[in-house]
Symmetry: C2
Subunit: 136 residues, 2 copies
């Protein structure tokens, strides 16, 4: 029985939104996702995209990233990982080679008398392209 409050029904719209988001690692905005989804489902509305992104984030299927610009960006990779934001072109990329350190959570708990569930790390700087352009 799944008649409990908050039951989430399967819909074509949400499946497609998740598929689109899973197919990219560019951390797109809601509007970009909307544009992509419209190609396959022209009548979908922006409101539906926002509602589903919210639900998927609640379910832990995706992550909402808020920083830098006023837009939210969405990450279709559900594994916790660190992000890098280019201060020049605003590109967001997944960081490689530096795994999430969960020990630091315990350190924070001990020193601050709190309970830590997880943490996020954002690195700010120049991406490969912008770094190389600077040097010219």
């Amino acid at each position: 029985m799944d008649t409990q409050k908050g039951f989430i029904r399967k819909t074509k719209q949400r499946d497609l939104i998740l598929k689109v988001l899973r197919s990219t690692d560019t951390h797109p905005t809601a509007d970009w996702i909307y544009e992509q989804v419209k190609k396959e489902m022209p009548n979908i509305s922006l409101g539906t995209v926002y509602r589903n992104l919210g639900k998927l984030a609640e379910l832990g299927e995706i992550t909402e990233l808020k920083f830098g610009s006023k837009y939210s960006r969405f990450d279709g990779n559900p594994d916790n990982h660190y992000h890098f934001v280019c201060t020049e072109c605003e590109k967001v990329i997944d960081v490689k080679g530096c795994p999430v350190d969960e020990e630091i959570d315990r350190c924070i708990e001990l020193n601050n008398d709190v309970k830590v569930f997880f943490h996020k790390v954002l690195f700010y700087g120049l991406c490969t392209d912008c770094k190389n352009n600077e040097q010219e």
Copy 2:
């Protein structure tokens, strides 16, 4: 000579805004700051508060924090440090006992072919009060 473009003039409004922000560690919103500043300068406008917060952030005197809720919060402590966000009451606190690790920036640079200027860390969990309330 300070006639270069972008010169910033000293004003009573900005001094007061900075004073208010420096006097708290609650990471207030622009609106809260506005309310405090109004007590001493009743005619100040919200627009002025936003404009000055923006300038102070540009100057590196304060930091703008964007995460969690839709509001921006401002941190009057200019030293780079980590933050903790309570997922229950949305309080934001400065983390103690875990200094900023700048070596990780070099690690990211080596593994991702980027230039890193700085990084931010956000811990999510239950603050002391909310943690204790849960247990009751």
